[in-house]
Structures are given as C-alpha cells and as structure tokens.
Symmetry: C2
Subunit: 395 residues, 2 copies
C-alpha cells in the first residue's frame, strides 16, 4: 500500500557516511571515512569489572525501570565534573542523562524546533545532528566556518532572520573540520545571540580529547541569560556502546526535557550510567584521559606529518590539537568529489566536504580525514596514497 | 529568559503515575499504582553471566558503535520467534531493534503523525504512548473499550474522519484495563481499517505473559495490506532495565524506520541486545516464561480473590488471564477519584481511570490495580483495605 510519511521526515536522510563505511570491510581498504573511537581507548577492564559487580550485587536495581532524568549519583558527579573542568555553574542549570549525545539533539529539536523553523549550523557541520533537526521539520541553514570559528558577519546576517529556533555549534575540535572556535569568537557569538534573541545548542563531545593548544571555556560557562543548551557524551572519552550522554539546560527547562525524555525512551541504561559514575569517581579518570590523549595525539600528528610529507604544497590542512578529525582542502573553487572517488579506487576511504553541508549537491573543496579509527600503519600507507594523489591531481 | 517551546510539546505532560509513585516509598504504603515487573521475574543470573562473558570475550564489539537497525543475530532470532509464537510472517515484513517499547511509539509517531493529525486510541489507553503521540503534535481521540475490545460502531465513526494517522491498540491484556480483544473483533478492526485506509499500531508487551485463557493471534498475523506496525518489548518478559524492544513493519517502511532511529539515538545497547539474543537461543526461554507466568498468575488471582472476598458486590472486575493489571469499576456514572483519594489516605495507591483517557478532567468509574509489583502480603492487605472501602462507599 501507499504510505503517507509525515512531512517532517521528508528532508531526513540516512547518513552517507554510514553507507560509505560498509565499504570499509573490503579487504585491503583503509578507512579515513568513519568517526569511531579506537577500541584501545576503551576502559574495557573497568567497565567489565564495574558491570560484573553491579549485576552481582544489585541486579534488581540494574534491571528494573530507572528514572527519566537519569541515575542521581551520575547527575551529581557530572555537575561537579563539569563545574571543575568546563567552568559550568549549576546554580541556575540542571542536567539530564541521555542515550548518547545524539539524543541531546533529538530532545532539543523536539522541544525547540517548530516545523518550518530555521536551524542554523556551522558549514560544514555534523551530519547526525543535522538529521535530528531535519527530522522535526527544521530547515537547515549553514554559516561559513573559518579556522577560528564561524564567520561573524554571516552569523549576524543569519540571526536577523525571523523564525530561528537554534544555532547549533561545536566550538571545540569540530566534526568534520577539526577547527576550534577562539575564545574571542565564542564571546562574540554569545553577544550576537543576545542581540537577536537566539538560543544556542553547544555540542562538546571532543572537548576532553585535547592533545595540543590551550583549553578554551565553553560558551555555556558564561551564560547569564540561560540561552545555551550544552550537550556532552561519554562516547569519545569512554565508549560509544555505553550510549550515555548528558544535556545541561537552564533549570526552567529541566521539566520540559524530562517530559520529552520520558515520552521518547523512558530512561537510559541503568548499568552504564552506573559504570560512568563509578569510573569518574573510583577509577583514575585523569590518568585514563591522559592515555587516550596520548593515543590520539600520536595518530593525529602522524597523519598530519605523513600527509605533509607526500602532499602537493597547495593542499591545505591544519595540525590537529584534539578530537578525531582533520580536514584537507584542495585549492578554493575545486570540488573534492573527484579526489575522493579516485582515492576510493586506490582503496582509501575519505568523505567529501559537501556531505557535511546543508546542500550536498554544491561543490566543496574539503576532504574529511579521520585519524581515530585507522591503525598507525594504515595512517602511514593511506597518507602516502592521498599525498601522491594530490600531487597527481594538483601538480 | 522567556523560552519558546515548540508547539508540539504543548500537549505533552509528565506521567501522573510516575509522580504518584514517588509516594510509594513512604513507609507502610502499599502500591497498586505502578506497572513495574516483579524483580523475582528477572533472569538476573543469565543476564549477569551472558554480560560477563561478552565483556570478557569481545569488549571492543560491545563498547564500539553498533548499527542502527539492531544487532543482526537478535533480529534473525526474533523473526523466527515471532513467526513461531505469534504467527507473524517475515516474507513481507522486517524488524528493527529499539530502546524499549516506548521508542517504537516515538519512531512510529515521528514517521506517521503530522502535527494536528488525529491519533485514535482505545479509551482508556497507555499513558506513555499517548504522550509519545502528543509529543509529535498528534491529537488524541479515544474509542470506548469494552471487555472484548473496542466499540466497533464508535471505531467506524472515528475512522470516517479525515486526517487519522494511526489507530493505536493493545489487543492483549491491555494497559490499563487488562482486557483482551477477541479474535473476531481483531478481524473486524482490520476490516474497518482496510475500508477507511487507516494504519494500525499494534502494541503487544504483555502477550507472552498469559496465564489463563486461549492464545489469540495478533492483528499483525493477518496483514495482507501491510497496514500494521507491530511493537514488542523485553521489558515484561525479561527486564525493563535492558531497554530492548522491537518494531515489525512492512519491508517498504524499514529504511524509514532506520533513518528515524539513526537520527534519534544512533543504536540501542549492544550488550543487552546480545543478552536477549543469547537468552532466547541458549537459555531455556520456555521454562523462564513458564516460571514468570506462574508468578504473575499467583499474584493476579490472589488480587482477584481477595478483592472479591471483601468488596461490595456492585464493584465490578474481571478475573485476569495475563499481563500486569486489572481494573475495578464503580457503578456506571460514579467517578472513581474520591475512592482513589480515600484509598491513598488508607495507604493504598491506585490510579483513577480518568488518568488513562484523552481528557483526564472527565469523570471515570475505573480504578487501575497493578498486581505485578506488590508482594503477596501487600496484595492481601491492600485488597482488604480497598474491598472494605468499596463497602463503605457503595454500601
């Protein structure tokens, strides 16, 4: 029969990247296309031991219904942690546990995006959240991203429009660009949001994966108006299979988030909320962070050095300071798709920058490269293949 | 600041029951108000052992990102299981794993309910799913439920209206009523849906918790048109803390569900999907079902017998044959709220029937009684208190 799909879903698409990744299993393929963490970074032993003990000591508590706002000890632990590490105050804010970072975007969209509203995103931006906004009928509009953050003139022009429900921003080690918004630009973004009455949805999944440069406070750390919703996740710092994320919101909005969460999936995993709480409190979380930072630093700098060694000088790319990604840019005006396709023939998967924009049909000169998932050997081989290809195509 | 909440969330409410249940922790309180399973019914040992082994043998697989459609072995196991036990064919259908049964309603609403659409529900019906429909801007309309299923005349009248996106039905051991739709009425509901071109969302969380009467095939077992979406869950047969449910849909809709799931929370728990799969295949699932059926049979019949022993003869209630609930009815036209409030003063929590309708302000003569969560001792004491109260109020 002919199905009538709701209007809101007409713009939603499957992730191109998830489809690309199916190629990653072909023999000899090197994938810089994904965005998964390195399994060596997972605190597997800790999660196994905490889980065993919890299932043995209090199975009924783990297996029974939990509460929608999240496991209370984890909420308290995160408040202290976010205050200490990110400077976020909980005097006027509260926190709710989600099923991964993605659900923060889903709940925020459910609560703030009316069908037909405009949601502003950096251009390029993270596909998963763009699809969450689309799935509530949000119309995406991209604002040009520079190396030090969004273009302020373009942002102000966009803010002037009516019907802006949210500005979605990943200020630190952005996916896909790897860029970090400067402290000054963060302040200016907030000032513009104040001037035009716009809510900010700040996503910070990579903030703790910093291996170079100086820490910069999140926008949420200075939010006198309560106009910033802050989302975080354990997917990159512990493991994505835990499906534990969190969203910080002004206290006035807590009950709305709780109702939305309850209607969506009742509550998140009791077991893994407990595991995150125990891990933060009773295992050496700073030592764990230091070890995963060292791991990703090694991989990120290796990719940077190896591409630099082989690439045509007009291929631009910045040295990564954190996160999982770097972006290489062909000369301005040159679409990256032929490069990506030729690389694929040579068994290296990359993702064209166009995939991360609101209109993937437009040419884009960026190529996203992931360094968290491939092995060091794959990084060396893949970087050489991409570098040589750039010399052939640009030389 | 003043927040502009999206239109769709204006009708969504927190669950009255979840608020009521906060009283349940007061000393001496007997709660017939909840709907949680008995922790004695959880296969705790199996889940602990399966989890331990999985975390030891393949931590990276458990902790890494999973796929949105669900753990492939569990999807295959469930296809066989649903074919064998419910008569659902997978020639034209497919299955996707969700984060609990609630997420089936969330995804179905996201895909089918345009804002302003009417969603038909049995009256009374399950609050959690009603809130999911409301959270997409669906307008709820109730169709009177009798002991053998929905009122067909009222259903046909409702189907005649334009803009009906879904008819949501729990045909077996319905929450809150405990009623089961007869085989004949199931056929007639389907015929009417065909006649008026309506999609059916069939929810069956309690089907396997049958401890009396004869099995009746779900509506989905005879669905030549592909107009039935079928939702199920491990929350009642294994444990709600697993957060594993599943949705069966015509193959043509599978990709849409996958996109919606991906945009919502990426994927469900790898660990507990594996645990459900292992449990169904390698532990004695039929023996487990037999033991939880015996447990709930004992409690359900105890509640029935004890209330019968003490109650005023004009309090009506049917002998439960499965599920977690029975409903007691005061004489027609008499609102149950004063009864519920007086019971609460005597330390027995029940839920007024009005809470399960589309307009809780309307008087309703039903009182929902849960027998899965309280202990046998609590059932005996609580039933006596309620029975005596009915004699005082009706005598």
């Amino acid at each position: 029969m002919a199905y009538r799909i709701a209007e809101r879903m007409k713009g939603a698409q499957g992730s191109i990247i998830r489809e690309l990744l199916k190629l990653a299993n072909e023999p000899g393929m090197i994938s810089f296309g994904g965005g998964s963490p390195d399994p060596d970074a997972f605190p597997s032993e800790a999660v196994a031991r905490i889980s065993e003990e919890a299932m043995r000591r209090q199975p009924a508590k783990i297996l029974q219904y939990g509460i929608s706002e999240g496991y209370p000890p984890l909420r308290e632990t995160l408040k202290k942690h976010l205050q200490a590490t990110e400077g976020i105050s909980f005097e006027d804010n509260d926190i709710l546990i989600t099923s991964g970072g993605q659900q923060c975007a889903d709940l925020a969209a459910k609560l703030f995006v009316n069908e037909g509203d405009t949601v502003l995103v950096e251009s390029p931006s993270f596909i998963g959240c763009m699809n969450a906004f689309r799935s509530y009928g949000g119309r995406l509009q991209g604002v040009k991203l520079h190396e030090d953050g969004v273009d302020l003139e373009a942002l102000e022009k966009a803010f002037r429009q009516p019907g802006i429900s949210l500005f979605y921003i990943i200020p630190t080690f952005q996916n896909p660009s790897g860029f970090t918004t400067s402290a000054e630009k963060r302040r200016k973004v907030y000032e513009l949001a104040q001037k035009y009455g716009v809510m900010i949805l700040e996503d910070n999944p990579y903030g703790e994966v910093r291996f170079g440069g100086e820490w910069i406070a999140p926008i949420k750390a200075q939010d006198p108006d309560g106009r910033v919703i802050y989302m975080g996740s354990f997917s990159k710092t512990m493991a994505p299979g835990l499906r534990v994320g969190f969203v910080v919101m002004p206290k006035d909005l807590f009950n709305q988030f709780k109702i939305a969460k309850q209607a969506t999936d009742v509550h998140s995993s009791n077991l893994f909320q407990l595991a995150c709480d125990e891990f933060l409190n009773h295992w050496d979380y700073p030592a764990h962070l230091a070890s995963i930072r060292a791991l990703y630093r090694k991989k990120g700098l290796l990719m940077y050095d190896e591409i630099k060694k082989h690439a045509h000088p007009s291929l631009r790319f910045a040295k990564p300071q954190g996160g999982f990604f770097m972006m290489a840019y062909l000369p301005e005006g040159q679409d990256a798709m032929p490069f990506v396709q030729e690389a694929l023939k040579r068994k290296v998967i990359t993702v064209p920058g166009s995939a991360f924009t609101t209109d993937p049909a437009q040419p884009n000169n960026g190529v996203r490269l992931n360094f968290s998932a491939p092995s060091e050997e794959q990084i060396v081989r893949g970087a050489e293949i991409l570098g040589k290809l750039s010399r052939e195509m640009l030389g």
